[in-house]
Amino acid sequence: MPNKDTIVDVPTVNKIARLSRLDIPEVNKESLTNDLNNILGFVAQLDEVDTSNVEPLASVTGHKLPLRSDDVNDGNIEDLILKNAPESSSGFFVVPKVIE
């Protein structure tokens, strides 16, 4: 029972795919659109609950955001940082040129 406000069509799927840098084969788009509509429709059931007077809940644990003091106690691990890089040179990551 998809909610009419959350209907996703193929152009929307194309847009999300482009923003996410995902290459989705043309043949899969129709079924993906159906899947997304089903998921969104399922979640949309929550809209039936009136939450107009309820504050958004950020955590169920009651914990507050922990803060740390301003100390330098990390870094100096450039070898480790660059270890997974497909290409690196003189301490830099090297990637295909990313300027127009």
């Binding site: 923003l19 950020a58 955001l65 870094g75 040129k97 990313v98």
Partner: protein, 490 residues
């Protein structure tokens, strides 16, 4: 074309009438913390590539951000200094986009609930006028890494040292109406940030940079479509970029075109802006609350503690300088631009003529430092020595003209003005008998001119004063020379 000479700054004379600029600024200020906003890696500038990177900054799976308390405190402090509303609960959101120097794939920022809300500051303009500019918000966010595109023909080099460094984004309301006002606004924000120590304000190193939103309209009309000029790192460039962008928009509109809302870059070599991103990839950052971070909460009493510790800010200091030292509001606004200037001035002017001290500091000292390419902290002249020079002028030991000679010697040798005056025998001569001797000499050397003067050529009086001064090597007291010459030539 600018044909109307009475045009207000920020107005453009077009074919169809006068256009007005509407400008809003987003200032990115790097917080002066030792470590990053969400990691313990160093936030210092100029290290080896990728040295100041933790696994959190590199966005390794499973790493969690933990916020830096000092950074939160600086944001609150800045909010208070901007007379703004402090939000005791704020939320961090993910701003999603892909770029090679953003390993997370998103920037942690604050979107719907920033730490600081609306405020306002007073901005001092060059003509001595003041204007109030509204602040829309201030939020905390991460800086991105740095891409180098000129190291290799087909590759980009990425350094993540800046990734995750704490920034405050300070967003103004679209209250600014000229490039000059925009420059003055940035100057004031920078000054406030330096006073409270939240940011070093170093624009060359990128600690402070601005995005400018510019649109144009006919007076009284609705706002036009705006363009955003990204990443300007000097006040001069901000002024140039806004002027050139507004003129570009006027040209398009007057030819019947429309403005595309887009992001533009300022090319410092041509002095013009150019389009930066193609339109089809219109921004869609898909903000959502960062599930790794709970809302940021703090108590009102913590905010009050910070408020009590705030130092005296430029506006209040300025009023105090005008009141205590009798200087003009304009001079005071120059002196309060930097904390170092005010401290120097107050020491130099202590017990001395405040106006004279301000003149010598602003005109002579600032001028000489600029000429010698020295920063203020490198000044060869100490506040003590400038104060002493003012004292020597005020009590008549040296004339204003000799003082300039002493001043340049102070710049060169760092010696105290009293020592220089003593060594060079520059004390002003005010003694009647000595000056009369000089006058007699000048009169006997210029008998023909004396006759002309006595037969009515009054203008020659200046000539005699000049000759006496020259003969005394500038040391004669000009007031005494004037008085005695008048009596003598009656």
């Amino acid at each position: 074309m600018n044909v109307n000479s009475t045009l207000k700054p920020g107005n453009i004379q077009g074919e169809t009438g006068i256009w007005e600029m509407v400008i809003g600024l987003e200032i990115h200020a790097q917080i002066s913390s030792k470590s990053k906003l969400f990691s313990g890696a160093s936030a210092s500038f100029g290290s080896e590539a990728n040295r100041n990177v933790s696994l959190v900054d590199a966005a390794m799976p499973g790493m969690l951000p933990v916020i830096n308390e000092f950074c939160v405190e600086q944001a609150v402090k800045t909010g208070l200094a901007l007379n703004a509303k402090i939000n005791n609960v704020s939320v961090f959101d993910r701003k999603n986009y892909f770029y090679a120097d953003l390993p997370q794939g998103y920037q942690i920022s604050q979107f719907t609930k920033p730490i600081v809300g609306e405020g306002e500051i007073i901005v001092d303009l060059d003509d001595g006028e003041q204007t109030t500019i509204g602040i829309e918000r201030l939020h905390l966010e991460q800086d991105a890494g740095k891409s180098l595109h000129d190291q290799h023909p087909t590759k980009s080099y990425i350094d993540l040292n800046r990734t995750g460094v704490a920034l405050m984004e300070i967003v103004s309301k679209p209250d600014i109406r000229s490039p000059q006002e925009a420059g003055a606004y940035v100057k004031k924000i920078r000054s406030i940030l330096r006073y409270i120590g939240a940011c070093d304000g170093n624009m060359e190193e990128g600690s402070l940079r601005a995005d400018c939103n510019v649109s144009v309209r006919k007076s009284g009309e609705e706002f036009g479509t705006r363009c955003e000029i990204k990443n300007l790192n000097s006040i001069r460039f901000i002024i140039q970029a806004i002027q050139s962008e507004a003129e570009r928009q006027v040209d398009i509109l007057e030819e019947g075109g429309t403005i595309d809302q887009e992001t533009r870059l300022f090319d410092t070599s041509t002095g013009e802006t150019r389009s930066m991103r193609s339109k089809e990839d219109a921004h869609d950052y898909r903000y959502f609350p960062d599930p790794d971070l709970l809302p940021l909460e703090f108590s009102e009493s913590w905010v009050q503690d910070i408020k009590e510790k705030l130092p005296e800010l430029p506006d209040s200091l300025k009023k105090r300088l005008v009141k205590d030292f009798g200087i003009t509001s304009y001079d005071a606004s120059i002196l309060v631009e930097e904390k170092d200037y005010v401290d120097f001035y107050q020491q130099a002017a202590n017990g001395r003529d405040g106006k004279l001290t301000a003149n010598w500091m602003i005109t002579e000292l600032f001028g000489a430092l600029k000429k010698d390419n020295l920063s203020f902290s490198e000044s060869p002249i100490t506040s003590e020595n400038l104060g002493e020079l003012i004292y020597l002028i005020s009590n008549g030991t040296i004339s204003g003209k000799i003082a300039k000679e002493v001043f340049s010697e102070m710049m060169k040798s760092k010696k105290s003005p009293s020592d220089i005056v003593k060594e060079k025998g520059l004390e002003q001569v005010s003694d009647d008998t000595e000056i009369l001797k000089l006058i007699d000499q000048v009169i006997s050397d210029n008998q023909d001119k004396v006759n002309e003067y006595l037969s009515g050529k009054d203008k020659l009086f200046g000539f005699f004063v000049g000759q006496v001064m020259k003969l005394s090597q500038g040391k004669a007291n000009p007031g005494v020379v004037n008085k005695l010459l008048k009596e003598k030539l009656k």
